[in-house]
C-alpha cells in the first residue's frame, strides 16, 4: 500500500497532461449480447474493443467501479461494426463510447495456472486470488504445419482397459468421445485425467478440462473430485457455464487450446478435453444468427465446420526441433438417439483421428464403460501402444470380434459345437474383464497383467458372472505378490520372456489360492 501511495504521489507531482488521440465509436443499438457500433472505420476483424462507461462519470465513481467491459468485433459492415459483448451486457447502453483495443483477443497464460479454475478470459474464478507470472497469448492462432510435426508414437494411457487395449490414444492425437446423454462420456474423460497420476512426473501431461455450457454445480463437483484424487496438481479447469453468454461459451475451447499450446511449445505434453463441442456449436449458432449471418443446414452458420477444424488442428505432436511437445485432444460430442449421421457429429468425426462410441443399450445392460468396440476406432492404432499392450490386445480384438459374430446364435441355438461354446465363453469372460468402475483407472502395467490373464485363460475356471470380483482380487494379489512382474512391465514397457515367466508364476499362484 505504501508503495502505491508513494507512486501516485510522484505521478501527481510530475503531472503534465499527455494528449492521447484514439479512434472511437458510439453504440447505436445493443441487444441479446450484440452491440451495433457507429464508427471504428479502421477496426479489424476479431479485434478487441473496450466499452468505456467512465467517460461521463467523475473520477471517484470511475475508480469505485473498475472492471472494464470488453467486446469482440465479429462483423465489419459498411458504416458500422457488430460486436459481441464479453462481459456484463447490462453495463453497455446506447450512446456509449467504444474504444479500439488495438489487439486480437488474448488471454493470460502461465505455469501458475496449473491447479486453478479460470473462465474463458483467463480470469480465476476459484477465489484463490490473481494468477501472477503470465504472458498474453492470442486466442486464435494458426496451427503447426506438416514440417513441424512428428508422428504420434507415445501412448496416452487412459487407465480404462477397453480403450488402452483396443482404441489406444497417442500423445498428439484427437480422439472423439461420442454418445447420447448419460452414457459416460465425461466419466471417460475424467478417468483419463485421474490416471495421469499413475504416470511419472517427468512424463505426466498437463490436463486441461474445458467445461462448455455446463451446470456450475456439475463443474464444482468435478473440481472437488479431481482435488480429492490429487489430480488438480496437474490440471487446469476452464469453465464457461450455461449461465454465461454464447460468446464466452463459443470461445472457451479456444482458451483451452491456448493454454495447452503454452505447455506444448515448452516441450511438455498436454491433454485438453472439450466437454462438449455440441454446446459450443449451439452457442456459435446463436451468436451467428444474432449477428445476422446467413443460416445454413440446421440453422448453423456456413463456417461451423471451420470452427471445429481450426480448433482441433491445433492439437499436434511436435518434432524434436520444435521441442517435441504434444497436445492431445479429447473432444466430446453428444448425439441425439445415437444418430451419428447428424450434421455436427459427422463434421467432427471427419476431423478427428478416431472415435469412441458409447451406446445407451450397452450402458443399460451394465456394460460400463459402454464402448461399442465394433465401431470405435483409433486411426493411430498400435503405433500409440507399448509393446506389452500390443502383445495382449491383438488377441482380445480377435476374440471379441468372433464373440460378436457368434452372439446372435446364443439366443436361439441350443446345439452348438464345443469350439463355438468355448469361443462364446471366452468372449463373455473378456467382456466381463473389460468392465470397469468409474473413478477407478488402473495403471497400464496392471491392465497388461489382467488382460494377459484374460487371453491366456486364467479366468476360465471362474464363472463369468464372478469374473468382475475375481479381477478385483487379482489386482489386490498382484499389488501384494506380483510387484516384481509389474515393475518389470512398467520399466521395460514390454512383455519379454523373462517378464512373462514372472507373470505366469504369479498368476498360477493366484489361481491356486483363489478358487
Amino acid at each position: 500500500m505504501e508503495s502505491i501511495l508513494k507512486r501516485i504521489e510522484e505521478e501527481i507531482e510530475s503531472f503534465a497532461p499527455v494528449s492521447k488521440s484514439e479512434e472511437i465509436g458510439t453504440v447505436r443499438t445493443v441487444g441479446d449480447g450484440v452491440a451495433d457500433i457507429d464508427g471504428l472505420h479502421n477496426a479489424m476483424l476479431n479485434e478487441v474493443v473496450i466499452f468505456d462507461d467512465v467517460y461521463d462519470r467523475t473520477l471517484e465513481d470511475a475508480l469505485q467501479d473498475a472492471p472494464v467491459t470488453y467486446g469482440l468485433i465479429l462483423n465489419l459492415e459498411e458504416d458500422s461494426v457488430r460486436v459481441v459483448i464479453l462481459g456484463n451486457v447490462e453495463r453497455v447502453h446506447e450512446g456509449m463510447l467504444v474504444r479500439r483495443g488495438g489487439r486480437l483477443l488474448s488471454i493470460p497464460v502461465g505455469n501458475e495456472m496449473v491447479g486453478r479454475v479460470v473462465n474463458t478470459l483467463g480470469e480465476p474464478v476459484d477465489g484463490r486470488g490473481v494468477i501472477k507470472e503470465t504472458v498474453m497469448k492470442p486466442i486464435e492462432r494458426k496451427s503447426y504445419g506438416v514440417i513441424d510435426r512428428a508422428p504420434v508414437d507415445a501412448p496416452l494411457h487412459t487407465g480404462i482397459k477397453a480403450i488402452d487395449a483396443m482404441v489406444p490414444i497417442g500423445r498428439g492425437q484427437r480422439e472423439l468421445i461420442i454418445g447420447d446423454r448419460g452414457t459416460g462420456k465425461t466419466t471417460i474423460a475424467i478417468d483419463t485425467i485421474l490416471n495421469q497420476k499413475n504416470e511419472p512426473e517427468s512424463t505426466r501431461p498437463i490436463c486441461i478440462y474445458v467445461a462448455i455450457g455446463q451446470k456450475e454445480s456439475k463443474t464444482a463437483k468435478l473440481v472437488a473430485l479431481l482435488s480429492q484424487h490429487g489430480a488438480m496438481e496437474y490440471t487446469i479447469v476452464v469453465t464457461a457455464p450455461a449461465s454465461s453468454s454464447a460468446a464466452l461459451q463459443f470461445l472457451a475451447p479456444f482458451t483451452g487450446a491456448v493454454i495447452g499450446e503454452h505447455f506444448m511449445d515448452a516441450g511438455k505434453d498436454a491433454l485438453v478435453i472439450y466437454d462438449d463441442l455440441s454446446k459450443q456449436a449451439v452457442a456459435y449458432r446463436q451468436m451467428s444468427l444474432l449477428l445476422r449471418r446467413p443460416p445454413g443446414r440446421e440453422a448453423y452458420p456456413g463456417d461451423i465446420f471451420y470452427l471445429h477444424s481450426r480448433l482441433l488442428e491445433r492439437s499436434a505432436k511436435l518434432s524434436k526441433e520444435k521441442g517435441g511437445g504434444s497436445l492431445t485432444a479429447l473432444p466430446i460430442i453428444e448425439t441425439q438417439e445415437s444418430d451419428v449421421s447428424a450434421y455436427i457429429p459427422t463434421n467432427v468425426i471427419s476431423i478427428t483421428d478416431g472415435q469412441i462410441f458409447l451406446q445407451t443399450d450397452l450402458f443399460n445392460k451394465g456394460m460400463r464403460p459402454a464402448i461399442d468396440v465394433g465401431i470405435s476406432v483409433s486411426r493411430v492404432g498400435s503405433a500409440a501402444q507399448t509393446k506389452a499392450m500390443k502383445k495382449v490386445s491383438g488377441k482380445i480384438k480377435l476374440e471379441l470380434a468372433q464373440f460378436r459374430e457368434l452372439e446372435a446364435f446364443m439366443q436361439f441355438a441350443s446345439d452348438l459345437d464345443a469350439d463355438t461354446k468355448a469361443r462364446i465363453e471366452s468372449g463373455r469372460r473378456i467382456t466381463e474383464v473389460l468392465k470397469q468402475k468409474n473413478g477407478a483407472p488402473i495403471p497400464f502395467e496392471m491392465a497388461v497383467a489382467i488382460l494377459f490373464a484374460a487371453v491366456n485363460g486364467y479366468f476360465s475356471n471362474y464363472e463369468y458372472a464372478k469374473v468382475g470380483t475375481t479381477q478385483q482380487k487379482l489386482q489386490e494379489f498382484l499389488l501384494r505378490e506380483g510387484k516384481d512382474a509389474l515393475e518389470a512391465i512398467r520399466e521395460s514397457k514390454n512383455l519379454d520372456e523373462e517378464t512373462e515367466k514372472k507373470l505366469r508364476a504369479v498368476l498360477d499362484a493366484f489361481v491356486e489360492r483363489i478358487k
Binding site: 502505491i4 507512486r7 501516485i8 505521478e11 503531472f15 497532461p17 499527455v18 494528449s19 492521447k20 488521440s21 484514439e22 479512434e23 472511437i24 465509436g25 458510439t26 447505436r28 457507429d38 464508427g39 471504428l40 472505420h41 467512465v54 462519470r57 467523475t58 473520477l59 470511475a62 475508480l63 473498475a66 450512446g95 463510447l97 474504444r99 490473481v130
Partner: protein, 131 residues
C-alpha cells in the same frame, strides 16, 4: 419491424447521406425523392421517412465535434489543439468539472483526451495491472 418501416429507414438514410456529402444539392435530392415516391405510389411512407430523418439528425448532432474543458483557463489550449491537430473550427465548447484539469476533443470517430481525469485513470489501471 415491418417492411414499410425498413423501406422508410432506407430512404431516410440515403437522403441523409447524400445531403451530408453535398449540402448544396439538398433541395434537388428532396425533389427527386418526392417525385420517386409519387411515381411508385409510396407517398404514405413520407411520415415514416420524416421520423427516420429526425432520428438520423439527432444521432448526427450527438456525434458532432465538441470540446470539453475542465475550467475556463483550459479553453485556449483546447481550441488551439482542436484547430491544429484536427482542423476543427467553430466547435462547441462545454465545461465539465469532472475532467479536473485539461481538456478533451471528441469528433464523430476520434477522441483526443488530455484531461487529468484520463491520465489518473490510466495510471490506476497501470498500477492494478502490474500489482
Amino acid at each position: 419491424m415491418s417492411s414499410a418501416t425498413i423501406m422508410a429507414r432506407n430512404y431516410a438514410q440515403a437522403l441523409f447521406q447524400s445531403v451530408t456529402k453535398s449540402p448544396q444539392s439538398s433541395n434537388k435530392y428532396v425533389d427527386n425523392l418526392l417525385s420517386h415516391l409519387k411515381k411508385t405510389g409510396r407517398m404514405k411512407l413520407l411520415p415514416h421517412i420524416y421520423g427516420a430523418l429526425l432520428v438520423s439528425q439527432k444521432r448526427a448532432r450527438a456525434r458532432e465535434a465538441i470540446i470539453e474543458i475542465a475550467r475556463e483557463e483550459d479553453r485556449h489550449a483546447a481550441v488551439a489543439n482542436a484547430t491544429a491537430a484536427l482542423g476543427l473550427k467553430d466547435v462547441r465548447v462545454v465545461e465539465r468539472p469532472e475532467l479536473l484539469r485539461g481538456w478533451r476533443i471528441r469528433t464523430k470517430d476520434m477522441l483526443v483526451d488530455s484531461s487529468a481525469k484520463n491520465n489518473l485513470l490510466q495510471m490506476y489501471y497501470h498500477i492494478i495491472n502490474t500489482q
